[in-house]
Symmetry: C2
């Protein structure tokens, strides 16, 4: 058994979790895998603060270069896209394999980093960057390697899923649940990265790149968050048999790739609709395996650290056998033809109109929809008038073209009976 | 890119699926992994029957030895535990790596086969033996390698899950659903392996062995099937907020391992309760990652073949890099202390009594339960008398000792008010 020396750079929440596992589960890991992991250095600017882990003497340092030099494997857990990028490149160029959980960095600079890993003949693994503790990247890259990936739909952000779960369960509005989530530590003081969908988009870029064999960027993904989602939509969706989830969706329709993040209606009795609270889940549909789902904690100290250490073990095996890049961190090779612009997609839609309570409204709306080949699947109009005299009218459609839908809604929006902009949500059959 | 020559032995349903993938997805696999898989031989006693796959000339043979000699990797898909065992040993001893989906063989002869692989320095992989297309073995061995595994609960048999789903949805009885499942090809003419729980037990042995580091045998697992399950129990369970699933359960309680297969009540809103029809799902709980779930098709030509080919790719990578046994097919190393006998387990229980409709029955039952420290969590007694004048009485308990429960039920069973044997089912909180 060969010892693998590990340096952790960034001693925050996940860093402390990794140190926990390296110290606490070293025996289990050695027994199970034959790989002996030794914590060599922990580098952080602040090495005084107590993280609730008893660190061996001589391990803490403020010098990241020293930490890189002392290690076989460098664990980047600083976050952000500036210093983290420099440190990873420094480590790779020093011939060290790297593990990171940094999805933003990968979504923006993945291609550059993978090229550096390739050039230096080392590994750069990132299991923890998507789905926290769920081994979804290994599943895509190895477990499902025999498949063409036709579709991926993922609940990839625990904060959003927590907010949506509480809005549904408590019939509460977005702002108050967000405020409470911030108090409880489930949402950041600046929650934009989560609630505006960017974190989900980073992860969607990573999954899509692995599925398609080209490293995409943030410009390739359409992003809508849950910011300001109206609780009425959650309730109307429930009445129609759906839940609203923020999904990262990747579809391969005959070589044309859709990549989008938006709040999505999913059938209440589907597996993905039953993923609650901070949990994550990824549905992967392969041409051979059919539909699979991977579920677990998408964030948190220990779950994320579990994925980081799995990568360290993989790299340890590669170091012992001298087979770095046996499974390349990213394998170029075009498995698709082109990206679909949003106008080209087909989807089912949920539309909520806020209209005058007068004759001809349903007729007017349904006529325009029909002129754009949009077929109504169901319609909810309740005997209920809002304080301002307007009534809500909810329409669920059969599959329709996004382009036709946009044109139809422009026309409908110009009709005099509208009291508020139309709310559009997409429906995904999973 | 090196070519890896693959011989498939056994050209049945899964064999045809593997051939399908090797011929149809060879380009995707080469692009994604850099491994070029070449189908060299298909050996079967019957090489005339049309399997719906166009096989290249010169590939079909009735000579398994020739198929072994021609290959780098041998795929055993014959099934059974006699010829399959011989062929695998022959291949391993000839220095060929082997892939199998044969859970019965592994549950009975795993230790012998792994030893032969180790001795010959080759791989013996078996991803398809548990959970069909779900990459659960890779998850246990690699993705979750940083964890102590505290619990595994799996729906591991599609036939049973299909029968249970239909019994619940259609309020139908076991015998009629089984007969229909047989007509539709979802259950075998001789269904015992499935409905008596043995197939689930084979898979439970495999999962437990991987989690614990010792290759267990069928004698180590307690097995109860769904044969003859009463539809009334499904309905009472539903009223109490539960569904009945046939689970393989593995628990590590401070080093003492429970390994059991039985129909189990799980809360209706849990992820595992929502796994329907022929689908499988495995919940794995690690000390770091917490609760994870892996879901997908547990059987069928293409899904099972997806897992077989993932193993072939892994072996292909090992052949290219000269690193067979980099991830050992089974790594000995005791991660537990001892096996728990059933008497030692603790569980919550569902009990259905069939009793006379007379005073003192509830008092009599509850007194005896209480004397054995069994606490009642809820009780269902409806105003309803069966044709014979008996009434059903359903009790759900808090966690209690199996040993105390047995003793209590012996005493209760001896009371004069019983009209039929008590029905005991266990409840698992997931």
């Amino acid at each position: 058994m060969k010892e693998v020396k590990v340096s952790v750079i960034g001693f925050g929440t996940v860093g402390a979790g990794v140190v926990d596992i390296l110290l606490g589960n070293a025996d289990v890991i050695a027994t199970r895998t034959g790989v002996v992991l030794k914590l060599t250095r922990i580098a952080d600017l602040d090495i005084k603060r107590d993280r609730g882990v008893k660190v061996p003497d001589g391990v803490l340092t403020t010098d990241s270069t020293e930490a890189i030099e002392a290690a076989d494997v460098v664990i980047e857990l600083i976050g952000g896209t500036t210093i983290a990028r420099k440190i990873i490149l420094q480590a790779l160029n020093a011939g060290k394999s790297v593990v990171t959980a940094n999805k933003a960095l990968l979504a923006h600079y993945g291609a550059e980093l993978f090229e550096a890993a390739r050039k230096n003949g080392v590994d750069l693994f990132y299991e923890a960057s998507v789905g926290g503790g769920i081994p979804i990247i290994k599943a895509l890259r190895e477990g499902l390697a025999a498949n063409r990936i036709n579709r991926i739909c993922g609940i990839l952000n625990g904060t959003c899923n927590y907010i949506l779960t509480r809005m549904e369960n408590e019939h509460a509005d977005f702002a108050s649940v967000l405020a409470d989530a911030q108090k409880l530590g489930y949402a950041e003081a600046n929650p934009s990265l989560d609630i505006d969908g960017f974190d989900t988009a980073h992860k969607t870029v990573i999954l899509a790149s692995l599925a398609c064999g080209r490293w995409f960027g943030m410009d390739d993904v359409h992003v809508e968050g849950i910011n300001g989602l109206d609780s009425r939509d959650i309730e109307y969706a429930a009445k129609a048999g759906y839940r609203i989830k923020l999904l990262g969706i990747i579809k391969n329709i005959n070589g044309a790739i859709q990549m989008r993040v938006h709040p999505t209606l999913v059938a209440t009795d589907s597996m993905i609709a039953n993923i609650s609270d901070v949990f994550n889940g990824v549905m992967v549909e392969g041409d051979m395996v059919g539909r699979t789902l991977f579920y677990g904690r998408g964030a948190g100290r220990q779950a994320t650290a579990s994925a980081v250490v799995a990568d360290i073990i993989d790299i340890g095996r590669n170091l012992i056998y001298g087979t770095s890049q046996r499974v390349p961190c990213f394998k170029e090779g075009q498995l698709y033809e082109r990206l679909s612009p949003m106008d080209e997609i087909e989807s089912r839609y949920y539309l909520r109109f806020t209209v005058d309570d007068c004759p001809g409204v349903v007729a007017g709306i349904s006529k325009i929809l029909s002129e754009h080949s949009i077929s109504i699947a169901s319609l909810i109009q309740e005997e209920h008038t809002d304080a301002d005299g307007s009534v809500p009218l909810v329409v669920l459609t059969h599959p329709a073209s996004e382009k036709e839908m946009k044109q139809a809604l422009e026309k409908i929006g110009a009709m005099p009976f509208n009291r508020a902009p139309v709310r559009l949500l997409r429906i995904e059959t999973i």
